[in-house]
């Protein structure tokens, strides 16, 4: 059991580091673009587009990691009033629903990418699937985290509460 938790921690650490690096790149690009425009009267071709691509990845990956950390914004007031066992049951049901919607999105994203993924982006001329693939990747990770959350609820009685709304 501890092995699974250790693996989850490593995956989360890797993903958080990746997301932070992407954010660092966005930050550098933002500042660089302003400086280039006002001081050197020039720009980086495709800079804004690259920032958008990176930002999409930070959202897709960050949202998945947040499931593992249970830091998603939600209304916890009503469930918090329940005794321990019913609360664990409701939490499990909620995680099953989140797992389910992510499976649906994962399943639907492949035909969507196959259909339009080859279209080139406006400036960088990168195939669109480079950014689009963040959707199935994020959903697959979300499925994994939901499964781990359900496992933790019943194996560790870990009914930790998430971000309060």
């Amino acid at each position: 059991m501890k092995g699974i938790v250790a693996v989850e921690k490593r995956i989360s650490f890797f993903l958080e580091t990746l997301v932070t690096v992407f954010f660092g790149l966005i930050l550098i690009l933002t500042i660089l673009l302003v400086i280039l425009r006002y001081i050197f009267n020039t720009s980086i071709v495709g800079g804004n587009e690259l920032m958008e691509f990176l930002f999409i990845y930070t959202t897709a990956l960050g949202a998945a990691v947040s499931l593992g950390k249970r830091s998603h914004i939600k209304v916890t007031y009503f469930v918090d009033q329940l005794p321990e066992l019913p609360r664990a049951l409701v939490d499990t049901f909620a995680f099953f629903l989140v797992l389910g919607i992510n499976l649906v999105l994962l399943r639907l994203s492949f035909p969507w990418i196959a259909k339009v993924g080859d279209a080139a982006s406006p400036v960088l001329r990168l195939p669109s699937w480079v950014a689009m693939i963040s959707v199935p990747v994020g959903c697959a990770l979300a499925v994994l985290y939901c499964a781990l959350d359900i496992y933790k609820i019943w194996c560790f009685q870990d009914s930790g509460r998430g971000g309060e709304a």
């Binding site: 958080e16 997301v19 932070t20 992407f22 954010f23 660092g24 966005i26 930050l27 933002t30 500042i31 673009l33 302003v34 804004n48 920032m51 958008e52 930002f55 999409i56 930070t58 959202t59 897709a60 990956l61 960050g62 949202a63 990691v65 947040s66 499931l67 830091s71 998603h72 914004i73 939600k74 209304v75 916890t76 007031y77 009503f78 469930v79 409701v90 939490d91 049901f93 909620a94 629903l97 989140v98 389910g100 919607i101 992510n102 649906v104 999105l105 639907l108 994203s109 035909p111 969507w112 339009v116 950014a131 689009m132 963040s134 959707v135 199935p136 998430g162 971000g163 309060e164 709304a165």
Partner: protein
């Protein structure tokens, strides 16, 4: 329509994250009403995540985190002490004034409560203020954090309503300041009645100038950020990026209190906060798209118009809905859920989208300090050890300032529109 609303309500109540509640409700709608459109789900999710404007969100968060970590709180408190410390209830007044300035720097009410509360709540208790008053004034004054520009919720609203960030920043300036001034007046009144102490200190001119200089670099940052957006020098995203650079330089090279090794952690916190909000935005756009194709906002607006009720009552009812929503739902999801439904209604009664944005955010700010779910109350409770009910009791007199301002925003459009119209024609 009923599937969409009922399923969302049930999912929220059973604690499904707000983002996924929106996604599941939309999925159920497609399954039962338009199964032929279901393939559009991932495409709409992707489109919702793809927003250049929203890159400003993590950048504004990081700017606030950097300034806070750079030791801005103590400098602002000392600066405020200089102006209002000698009056009766000096520390209470300092609390409000520091929150007004801090709001312009952090853009977040929760970080305002945490930073100012950590310093001033224990200090006020030591000086003989009641714990309820010390915690209450801290949480109530922190509501200005998300109203006084630059403000993260304003950026979220700008996206939801397709409005100008600059106009919203300018529109929220006077209402934010008005709340602060009214809170100062209330503090003076309570302090005189309860005989709270004045702060005794003597500073020579040199020390006063030093205190001023210690704060000035932080004070000019909001002017710099807002000015660049308002005067079209930079986009909201770019101005937030420059704000981050400014906060970094001031924190590391001038204040020398910001440790470089702490920056990756602050960056991680900022981008994870952003991801949590962005996934709600992405899935709410899907939900809003369904509302639009079902013409729900128009139908609701027509229904309300057919009631032939005076506009005043409708606007008051909208205020009530906002205040109620704020007590249960966090600010960003509330903005995303309420804007597409309420904006067409208030527009049909002549309200400007900028005016409504300021109204919405000012109303939702009150929700942060009202039980049962109030993020600022939880933070203040962790600092003071008081139950949230007692903190709310202490905050109640000050919330009168928020409610009065809310009514003024609702019925005096010039309060929110005069400055944007003057500077951003």
């Amino acid at each position: 329509m009923s599937i969409l609303l009922l399923s969302l309500l049930v999912l929220l109540v059973i604690g499904v994250p707000i983002a996924y509640s929106l996604g599941i409700s939309s999925f159920l709608y497609f399954i039962f009403i338009h199964p032929e459109l279901i393939a559009i789900l991932p495409q709409r999710l992707f489109a919702g995540m793809n927003s250049y404007t929203m890159i400003a969100l993590p950048l504004f968060c990081l700017m606030g985190f950097l300034m806070n970590e750079g030791g801005i709180t103590r400098r602002l408190i000392d600066f405020s002490l200089l102006f209002v410390g000698r009056l009766r209830g000096g520390l209470g007044l300092v609390n409000v004034l520091a929150s007004m300035i801090f709001g312009g720097i952090s853009g977040s009410s929760v970080s305002d409560t945490a930073s100012i509360g950590a310093v001033l709540i224990p200090e006020m208790e030591n000086k003989g203020y009641s714990p309820e008053f010390a915690s209450g004034i801290t949480v109530a004054s922190s509501t200005m954090g998300m109203i006084i520009p630059p403000s993260v919720p304003m950026v979220v609203y700008a996206l939801a309503a397709e409005e100008s960030v600059g106009k919203l920043f300018l529109g929220s300036l006077f209402p934010g300041l008005m709340i602060g001034i009214l809170m100062l007046v209330i503090t003076v009144g309570i302090s005189s009645f309860r005989k709270f102490p004045r702060e005794e200190f003597s500073l020579d001119t040199k020390q006063k100038i030093e205190t001023f200089n210690r704060a000035i670099l932080a004070l000019i940052m909001p002017l710099f950020v807002i000015g660049s957006v308002v005067f079209g020098i930079a986009t909201a995203t770019e101005s937030a990026g420059i704000g981050v650079l400014y906060a970094f330089i001031v924190g590391t090279l001038v204040f020398r209190t910001l440790k470089v090794k702490k920056i990756p952690k602050l960056m991680k916190d900022a981008i994870m906060t952003s991801a949590n909000v962005m996934i709600i935005i992405a899935l709410s756009k899907l939900y809003i798209w369904i509302l639009a194709i079902e013409h729900i906002p128009q139908q609701l607006s027509m229904f309300i118009n057919q009631l032939n009720m005076p506009g005043v009552w409708i606007i008051l009812a909208v205020n009530l809905v906002i205040l109620m929503a704020g007590t249960f739902i966090d600010v960003s999801p509330a903005i995303l859920l309420l804007t597409p439904v309420l904006l067409p209604i208030v527009e049909s009664f002549g309200m400007n989208p900028v005016q409504f944005g300021v109204l919405l955010i000012s109303g939702l700010a009150v929700g942060l300090v009202t039980p049962p779910v109030g993020m600022c109350l939880n933070v203040a409770s962790a600092i003071s050890g008081l139950r949230i009910g007692k903190i709310f009791y202490g905050a109640m007199p000050f919330l009168a300032a928020n409610l009065v301002t809310l009514l003024l925003i609702s019925f005096v459009p010039q309060l929110t529109l005069w400055l944007p119209e003057l500077l951003m024609k």
